[in-house]
């Protein structure tokens, strides 16, 4: 059996080689080295969520009808019987309640979208805090940020296609934000929606085209570039035994790494399908169809738009105007300027880093967050500013659950979003510095504290020099407590 398989494999390889001549490339691929660190798997989770998204999305597209023509519901879900709704909404209710396995696929698709963006974000944080964005990875950093933006947009388009109450409330806010762009806002919104809100009958077709073709294709192309760049440059790696700037130490692709990575693909999709089967998400039949005169405050959008809701809610009613003519409508600040500003800062981050450190060198070894206390503090402070604004978007839920006055909460956050980042900066910088001082450091040869017992039986801890490279004294004290030593 084994011999037969081998013979076949060799024959196939020869067949392939005579036509493609790829043996050298394949050999290089199979020996390609991946550094071993759990945090390098975060990006893989995003990639595998994307695969689940594409496969489940194709299935959903087989059933979805992007039409806003009004129909009357006569399906199996009694509470909606006789309701006027769009054909689009009816088709999604049918996918959810009448198509066998339809709800499983729909909920898995929705969960995968949430996990996709979450894993990109955590991956991004890892890259930011370990300074992995430095040359030569700044280009790939920008590709990744672009994918994060596209992913948020793609997810928003996805839940907007359903045309339930939640979709409509999200879309009208998007319309208002587009409307508020100075100069071209109204024209732009009319172009996209095909007229004043809720738009012409073609709007859902346009949205579907963007959601199932244009944006996924863009993301797929960017993923290809992202991975090609990684393969060209190799992964960055943490410093350690045998690891230098110009090499990469780890597990070769074949066989161990390939099996582990396939395992991660299967684990990611397995968890997503379990979530899709067992944990309800966006029960659209409960929200009901959308009409411009309907709204409610119980339907919550997906987590990745929460920062924008927080910004829109927290923004004071500042709307510059001359006489009775508005210059810049209010939704522009929270809905357009705020996200653009956040992404602008992140896009500029590698450049700012070079500007302030004057370090133009290529970096393939990562820096642990604690070794750049100010940088880590700044990154944490900026992220905490965004997350404080995000948290402000949950104030109505807090009012609903805990009965804390909404107005008072808003006033609290108006101050907190400025205070929190400052506190976070000093706290993070302090933690980094104290970690540098007090805990084991894998970059240095020997760690630990020297504890010696005096003649009278009392115990004394010997202080070490600041850089702590010095070795323990040769005449060994009575007992040493070694730290996490990397020395064999």
């Amino acid at each position: 059996m084994a011999k037969f398989v081998r013979r076949r494999a060799v024959r196939f390889a020869r067949w392939n080689e005579q036509r493609v001549g790829a043996a050298t490339g394949i050999r290089w691929m199979l020996r390609y080295v991946f550094p071993d660190h759990w945090s390098f798997l975060l990006g893989e989770i995003a990639l595998y969520s994307f695969i689940v998204l594409v496969l489940t999305g194709i299935y959903l597209a087989l059933f979805y009808i992007p039409s806003d023509s009004q129909v009357v519901y006569h399906g199996t879900y009694a509470p909606l019987l006789g309701e006027h709704m769009s054909e689009a909404y009816r088709s999604v209710v049918n996918i959810s309640l009448d198509v066998p396995a339809g709800l499983l696929i729909r909920q898995t698709h929705h969960w995968a979208a949430d996990v996709f963006i979450a894993s990109i974000l955590v991956h991004f944080a890892r890259v930011l805090f370990t300074s992995a964005y430095r040359k030569p990875r700044d280009l790939n950093f920008w590709i990744g940020l672009t994918m994060l933006m596209l992913g948020i947009l793609e997810g928003f388009f996805g839940y907007s296609l359903v045309d339930d109450l939640l979709s409509g409330m999200g879309l009208v806010i998007a319309y208002a934000v587009a409307f508020s762009i100075p100069g071209i806002g109204a024209q732009l919104a009319f172009l996209v929606w095909g007229g004043p809100y809720p738009g012409s009958g073609r709007f859902l077709n346009r949205l579907e085209l963007l959601h199932i073709l244009v944006l996924p294709a863009l993301i797929a192309i960017l993923i290809t570039f992202h991975i090609a760049m990684i393969m060209r440059q190799h992964h960055s790696q943490f410093p350690g035994r045998g690891r230098r700037e110009r090499n990469v130490v780890g597990t070769p692709m074949w066989p161990a790494y390939a099996l582990r990575s396939i395992g991660l693909l299967r684990a990611t999709s397995g968890v997503l399908f379990l979530l899709g089967g067992l944990v309800q998400i966006n029960p659209i039949w409960q929200w009901g169809p959308y009409h411009v005169w309907l709204s409610e405050n119980g339907a919550q959008p997906d987590w990745y738009v929460g920062w924008l809701i927080g910004a829109l809610r927290l923004m004071p009613n500042f709307e510059p105007s001359i006489g009775n003519v508005t210059l810049i409508p209010n939704p522009f600040w929270g809905g357009a300027l705020f996200p653009l500003l956040c992404f602008a800062v992140f896009f500029a981050w590698p450049w700012l880093d070079r500007k302030f450190t004057k370090d133009h060198r290529r970096h393939d070894l990562l820096t642990r967050p604690r070794d750049r206390p100010v940088h880590t503090g700044l990154a944490a402070a900026f992220l905490s500013w965004i997350f404080a604004i995000y948290a402000a978007g949950a104030d109505d839920r807090i009012f609903y659950r805990l009965h804390i006055n909404y107005t008072a909460q808003i006033h609290f956050w108006e101050a907190a979003i400025w205070v929190v980042p400052i506190l976070v900066f000093f706290f993070t910088r302090g933690v980094c510095r104290s970690l540098q001082r007090s805990s084991a450091h894998p970059l240095r040869e020997w760690q630990g504290e020297i504890v010696s017992r005096r003649g009278d039986g009392s115990v004394e801890t010997l202080a070490l020099s600041e850089d702590r490279i010095e070795k323990p004294p040769s005449q060994a004290p009575v007992g040493t407590i070694p730290g996490k030593s990397t020395k064999e």
Binding site: A101, I309, L312, S321
Partner: protein, 350 residues
């Protein structure tokens, strides 16, 4: 051909280089690169060769992987069986396919960790920057323009052509949207009746104090930003309308109409606090409309005045009248533009 030609030519080639960002690269990193000081981040043990390879002999792990694979296959068949007999049972379907995938995950991770050879290997990175290569590419690009004399003319006309191509490519986009002319229009004008959700016209006697009603324009599209209205009736104690609109409060027995669409982000206003909202937190309670999206709060008794939240202007008000049969009708248009603001939106003058 003047002898200066090669100089011109070089300048052109440099521009091409800038486009390729090659130039920037050579600026930030002077070539040949001087030797840099050793990096502080490198470990003291960086020089050690960590390569190792161990071949496991672990029949128990192999058995475990085989069992996991077989059970995963059974879960896959279980999915089919569930689909046939319990096709709408999302939980069972999810357990079957999710369980299958997780078992497969366990099989491949165990195989990767305990069945196949474990290897730590070292690979050298490419230098990426090959100064001689960059020079070579630049020279190649330069050589492509050899003998071309009227470079300025060609570049100018090329830019013109590019602008033309872009314009032509963007033009059809204009057909995706209509003109902006309907932006100020709403279906409401003097005499139009107000309908309830069952298509019945509202009578003044239908409107009670303490709640709000949604009204729609008779004979016009409901699903538009200017369509739906909020109707409330306020007792005289709460009627503090602005001076120019004072008559709007008494004309229809204290029945007031407002656009239902929030002038902030366009959500439908669906919360009415009667009369529990205190704009200055002093306990001086007033009836208030609140939008559930971003909680902009407006006082109907003061003509839709914004008292809290991010909206940039007041809630548009519509005058109401009662006809001879007791039906509610619009007595005119809104006092300002409805829906989310845009640049130039018409707002109530102070």
């Amino acid at each position: 051909m003047s002898p200066q030609e090669p100089g011109h030519f070089r300048r052109f080639a440099r521009m091409a280089m800038a486009i390729l960002a090659v130039r920037r690269l050579s600026e930030t990193e002077p070539v040949p690169q001087p030797e840099l000081p050793p990096r502080p981040a490198e470990s003291m043990e960086a020089g050690v060769d960590p390569s190792e390879r161990t071949v496991p002999a672990n029949p128990r792990a192999e058995t475990l992987v085989a069992v996991l694979l077989a059970v995963a296959g059974l879960f896959g068949l279980g999915f089919l069986v569930t689909y046939i007999f319990e096709g709408l049972n999302t939980q069972l379907l999810g357990l079957a396919v999710g369980g299958m995938l997780l078992l497969l995950a366990a099989a491949s991770i165990i195989a990767g960790k305990a069945v196949v050879p474990q290897e730590t290997s070292v690979e050298e990175r490419d230098a990426l920057l090959e100064p001689t290569e960059v020079e070579g590419v630049v020279e190649l690009v330069e050589s492509g323009g050899e003998g071309v004399s009227r470079r300025g003319l060609l570049i100018g006309c090329g830019c013109l052509a590019g602008a033309g191509v872009l314009t032509a490519a963007a033009t059809p986009l204009a057909s995706t949207g209509p003109r902006l002319t309907p932006i100020h229009e709403t279906p409401w004008h003097r005499g139009r009746r107000m309908l309830d959700e069952r298509d019945q016209p509202y009578r003044a006697s239908d409107i009670e104090v303490g709640t709000f009603y949604t009204a729609f324009p008779e004979g016009a599209k409901w699903d538009q930003v200017g369509g739906p209205l909020l109707l409330v009736k306020l007792p005289p104690t709460f009627l503090e309308l602005p001076r120019q609109r004072r008559a709007w409060g008494t004309e229809a027995q204290g029945i007031l109409a407002f656009s239902k669409i929030c002038p902030h982000a366009g959500c439908a206003i669906s919360l009415y606090r009667y009369p529990t909202f205190s704009p200055d937190l002093t306990g001086n309670a007033q009836p208030a409309f609140t939008c559930p999206c971003h909680y902009s709060t407006f006082l109907p008794g003061r003509g839709g005045e914004l008292v809290f939240g991010p909206a940039g202007r007041d809630l548009p008000q519509l005058p109401v009248m009662i006809d001879g049969d007791g039906y509610l009708r619009a007595a005119g248009g809104f006092d300002e533009d409805v829906g989310p603001s845009w640049v130039n939106v018409h707002r109530v003058g102070e």
